[in-house]
Symmetry: C2
Subunit: 217 residues, 2 copies
DNA sequence: TAGATTGTTAATCGATTAACAATC
DNA sequence: TAGATTGTTAATCGATTAACAATC
């Protein structure tokens, strides 16, 4: 990574992951009543360290005021802009099984600027149907459609054994970021980001915690 | 954390999260053909560092052999036991909206030893219905049912603004581990684990990556 | 034996937290 | 001014990776 890139990504991965939490919390506040919010207040509400909050917010250059805090309205706006929620990102999804259907019909993503425009599957019984108004097309059309519509985000919700081939298709289709729900490690060119939504990892943590509790009880 | 606790949890959170990846990969191999697998081979397949793999596997005490590697069958068994997938954990889910319905109907969790036994909701139009054979009950029955059935895992799939109250109910119901899909930071007693499935954080990473790509192009 | 691999100790890297000057 | 807060530098903590002895 060059020096230039460093200034570019002057925020850590961990900090970036926390930004949506701040934004979500700040948006939950009553902007009529609360004009200013301080880092200790945010930290307390979210169970974080106040220095961490300040450092994270410093990265988005929203400029707080000593003694008072941050201007709520401005902070929300800056977070929104920084996270890119203001401009909607279009995505395609492959795999219209249980999980895929859920993701397509889940309304919550639009809040975060993600819009799933179409689904793909190989199963002829689901191809041609609609899920919440979104069409399900045959997988063969993935590459041409992505190119034509300049879609940059691909969501993988297929079984682990088919994940890599779908991934390869997405790369071919010019997708730049892949959100992978399959429990598989994907191999991609360096410029493409794979974000694993690793439910198995989460379950491992839960399971371990319970085992510990049980053996103690 | 006491010295005793340290030996107890001699594995790091990050390492624990990787164990399911190893298990998943090992299970995908043909056990007839492959009797032995080495850490460099696992590392290469999953795109990890081989020392990291060895260190992670050392924590589960499966004992590899210098020059050859690990016995595949034994390693799978040990990982399975360590992760607690062998004994199924029963869970309740609150919130039968889009996401909740998806989670209830998703078959994949049983592989990881998680069995969602029943759903809860406050909406009278969904209470009494069934989703993939799982009943949806009124939220008032949560506490009594969890106590009666000794359920230890709770899944929260309600909007952010209701997450804390549902969480409090779960704590009252004796739940020990909470899998939280709501974009909210939950406050719980120290002995209870909250595992946040933070889709907003993942989207933040995707969004940032794309923004960078775009500005460069 | 020579060579490949395990398991562990030491060095490095990155993220969090503590300390503190600057500010209003 | 006194006091609360920001922003940054230094110290700490935890995880990853490099180095290497032990093993078969």
């Amino acid at each position: 990574m060059t020096e230039l890139d460093k200034t570019y990504t002057a925020i850590s991965v961990q900090a970036l992951k926390r930004l949506p939490l701040y934004l979500n919390y700040l948006k939950s506040l009553d902007r009529e009543k609360t004009k200013i919010i301080s880092s200790p207040a945010i930290a307390k509400a979210l169970g974080l360290n106040e220095v961490q909050v300040r450092k994270d917010l410093a990265a988005i250059k929203s400029g707080g005021r000593p003694r008072t805090g941050y201007l709520l309205e401005k902070l929300i706006g800056d977070l929104d802009t920084y996270l890119g929620y203001s401009n909607v990102n279009e995505a395609v999804l492959v795999g219209a099984g249980h999980l895929g259907r859920a993701l397509i019909s889940y309304q919550g993503f639009e809040t975060y600027g993600l819009n799933i425009v179409v689904g793909f599957d190989v199963d002829e019984t689901v191809v041609g149907t609609e899920i919440c108004g979104k069409k399900v097309l045959p997988l063969e059309k993935l590459v041409s459609l992505c190119h034509r519509m300049h879609v940059n985000i691909g969501i993988i919700a297929v079984p682990a054994e088919n994940a890599q081939e779908v991934c390869d298709l997405m790369v071919e289709a010019g997708i730049l970021a892949i959100w992978n729900f399959a429990p598989a490690q994907l191999t991609v060119p360096a410029h493409i980001l794979v974000q694993n939504e690793n439910m198995a990892s989460s379950l491992a943590l839960l399971s371990k915690h319970l085992k510990k509790k049980m053996s103690k009880a």
